[in-house]
Amino acid sequence: MTRKQITICCGALFLVFLPPVALLGGNPYLISLASRIIIYALAAASLDLLLGYGAMISLGHAAFVGVGAYTVAILHFHSAAAEPLFSWPFLYAGSNNALLTLPLATLSAAFAALIIGALSLRTTGMHFIMITLAFAQMLYYFFISLEKYGGDDGLSLAARNSLLGVNLGNSSHFYYLCLVALVLFLIFAHKLVNSRFGLVVRGAGNNDRRIKGLGIHSYRYKLATFVIAGGSAGLAGALLANQTEFVSPGLMHWTLSGELMVMVLLGGLGTLFGPVLGAAVFLSLETTLAMYSEHWMIYMGPFLVLTVIFAKRGLFGFLTGDKGKNG
C-alpha cells in the first residue's frame, strides 16, 4: 500500500472509532467537536474541487453553506410553527424530516451556485474572485433582510431533524450521519476528478486557453463543477444547522469563505483528503488557542502569511509525499 492509502486508512479508522472511544474515556464533548470538524471538512473539500482542481478562486463559498443551512431552518420553522411555507400550487407545511431537508438543502444550494456560477464564470482571474465575493455578500444581506426568519439575529431550531426514527439529538448518531455524508462526498469527488470530466476540469484549471484551443467549451465543465461544489457545501450547511440548532446570516459572511480556504491550504490544495486534515487542524487550533488567549488570531494571521509565502505543500503532502494535483 502506498503512503497515501495508509494515511487515509488510518484516518478513516480513527474517525470511525472516535465516538465509542470518546465515551469510554469520559469525553463526550469530543464527539460534538468531531462532528463540527467533519462538517467543515465537507465544506472545505467541496471548495478544494474549485480551488485545487479547477483553479476557480471563489471567495463566496460560504454563501452556499448558508443557503443549505437556511433551507433546513426555514423548513423546520414552518413545520414547527404549523404555518405553511406556501399555499400555492399546493399546500406545503415545511418539514423536519432529514430525508427531505438534506436533499432539498443540497438542491437549493446547487441552484444558487448555478445562478452565481453562470454569471461569475464569464470572467476570470481577479474579476472572478471579486464577483464571487460580491454575490455571496448579496446573499448575506438578503438573509439579513428576511425579518420573518430572524434577520440579523438568526433563527433557532427547536430540535434536530429526524431521520427514519433515528434520534439525531444523540451526538453519536448525528456524528455517524455526518461521517457518512463526508465519506460519500469524498468517494464521489474522487471518482469525479479521475474521470474524463475531471481531466477536462483539471486541464482548464491549468491552462484554460489550451483547453479552448482543443475545441472544448471549458465554461460548461467549470459551471458543472461549481454547481457540484456549491451543492455539497449546502449539504454541509444543512448538517451545520442541525449541529448547532441555530442559523444566522453570519454563516455566509465572506470571512468564513476565507477560513475554508485556509483549511484547504493547510491540508493541501488539490488533494481532497487534505482539507479534512486542514479542517481538523484549524478547528482544533481555534478551540485550544481560544482557551489560552482570546486574541489568538494575532498569531494565526502572520502564521498564514508565512505559510503562504514559504511553505505551500500543506500537511497532507507532508505526510504522504503526495503533492496534490498542483504540487
Binding site: 478562486i57 474579476h127 471579486m130 480556504m261
Partner: protein, 304 residues
C-alpha cells in the same frame, strides 16, 4: 423634491468615500496585478488613528494628517514585508496571504482599542448645517467630505496627467513591461503606488469616522463595496473608479431612500416594505450583475 436632492447629496458623499477607496486599489490591481484583501484595513487604521488623535488634540485637521500618514506608513511597510513576495505568485496565494493580514490587523486593533466602537465627533466648525435651498438644510460636514473628495480627485488628475511620476504610473497601468524598460525603479514605484492607495484609504476612513461607527472589522464591509465599484468601473482605471463609485453610491443611497415608497404604489404596505428592504440591500449587486452581463470587463477597463 428637496428630499431627492438631499439623498442625491448623500449618494454623492458615499460615492466620494468609495472613490477614495477604489482609486488606490484599482491602481494596485492594474499595475501590480495583485489582489489585496487588506485594503480595508488601511481604511480602519485611518479611522482609528484619526479618532484617537482627534480626541487627544481636539483638532480634526491634525487627526486627518495623522490618519493619512499612519495609513501610508503601514501601507509601505506591508508592501515591503509582504506584498513584494506575492507579485509573482498566483492569485490564490495573494488572497490567502492578505486574508492573514486582515486577521492580524483586526486583532491588533482589538487589542489596542478594544471591541467597543469609538466615537468620533464632527469637528466643531463643521457641526452645523448649511441652507442650500429654501427648506433644504444639509450637514456642513458632509458637504466638506464631498468637497475634499473632489479636491483629491482633482489632485489625482493633475498628478496623473501632468507629472512625470503620474505618467509612469499610467504607463505601468496599461503596460507593465514598458515601465521597467523605461528605466524606472520598479520597487520604488510599486511601494509608492501602494502607499498612495493606503493613504487614500486612510483618508476615507478618517473622514467617514464621524458618520459611520469606528469598530473592528469596519474595513471589510467597505472593502466589498470597493470591489463592486472596481468590477463595475473596470480594473486599473481611475475613470472607471469615478464612474463606478458614483453609480454605486447613488444606487445604494437612492435605492434605500426611495424603494419603499416606490414599491408601496404597487404592492401592499407590509409586503412593499419587506421587499424594499431586501431589494435595497441587494441593489448594487444586482447592478453589478447587470453591468457584467453587458460588459464583462467593466465600463472603462484600463486595457480596453
Amino acid at each position: 423634491m428637496l428630499l431627492v436632492i438631499e439623498q442625491f447629496l448623500n449618494g454623492l458623499q458615499l460615492g466620494i468615500t468609495l472613490f477614495l477607496m477604489s482609486a488606490g486599489l484599482t491602481l494596485v490591481f492594474g499595475i501590480m496585478q495583485v489582489i489585496n484583501l487588506a485594503h480595508g484595513s488601511f481604511y480602519m487604521i485611518g479611522a482609528y488613528v484619526g479618532a484617537t488623535v482627534a480626541a487627544l488634540t481636539g483638532s480634526f485637521l491634525l487627526a486627518m494628517l495623522a490618519a493619512v500618514a499612519a495609513a501610508a506608513a503601514v501601507g509601505c511597510i506591508v508592501e515591503i514585508l509582504v506584498l513584494r513576495h506575492l507579485y509573482a505568485r498566483q492569485h490564490l496565494d495573494q488572497v490567502l496571504a492578505t486574508f492573514g493580514l486582515i486577521m492580524f490587523f483586526n486583532e491588533l486593533i482589538r487589542i489596542i482599542w478594544g471591541r467597543q466602537p469609538l466615537f468620533m465627533n464632527v469637528p466643531g466648525a463643521l457641526a452645523k448645517s448649511i441652507q442650500l435651498l429654501p427648506g433644504l438644510h444639509y450637514p456642513t460636514y458632509r458637504l466638506a467630505v464631498i468637497g475634499s473628495g473632489l479636491l483629491v480627485a482633482l489632485f489625482l488628475w493633475l498628478m496623473f496627467a501632468k507629472t512625470k511620476i503620474g505618467m509612469q504610473i499610467r504607463a505601468g497601468s496599461s503596460n507593465r513591461e514598458m515601465v521597467g524598460a523605461l528605466g524606472v525603479n520598479i520597487n520604488l514605484l510599486y511601494t509608492l503606488v501602494f502607499g498612495l492607495g493606503a493613504a487614500l484609504a486612510g483618508l476615507a476612513g478618517v473622514m467617514a469616522g464621524p458618520i459611520l461607527s469606528v469598530e473592528p472589522g469596519m474595513g471589510e464591509s467597505i472593502l466589498i463595496l470597493t470591489f463592486v465599484v472596481i468590477v463595475i468601473g473596470g480594473i486599473g482605471s481611475i475613470r472607471g473608479a469615478v464612474a463606478g463609485a458614483l453609480l454605486v453610491g447613488m444606487v445604494d443611497t437612492l435605492g434605500r431612500a426611495f424603494l419603499p415608497s416606490i414599491l408601496r404604489t404597487i404592492l401592499a404596505a407590509a409586503t412593499a416594505d419587506s421587499v424594499a428592504a431586501s431589494l435595497s440591500s441587494m441593489a448594487i449587486y444586482i447592478l453589478m450583475a447587470a453591468i457584467l452581463v453587458w460588459k464583462p470587463r467593466g465600463l472603462f477597463p484600463a486595457h480596453g
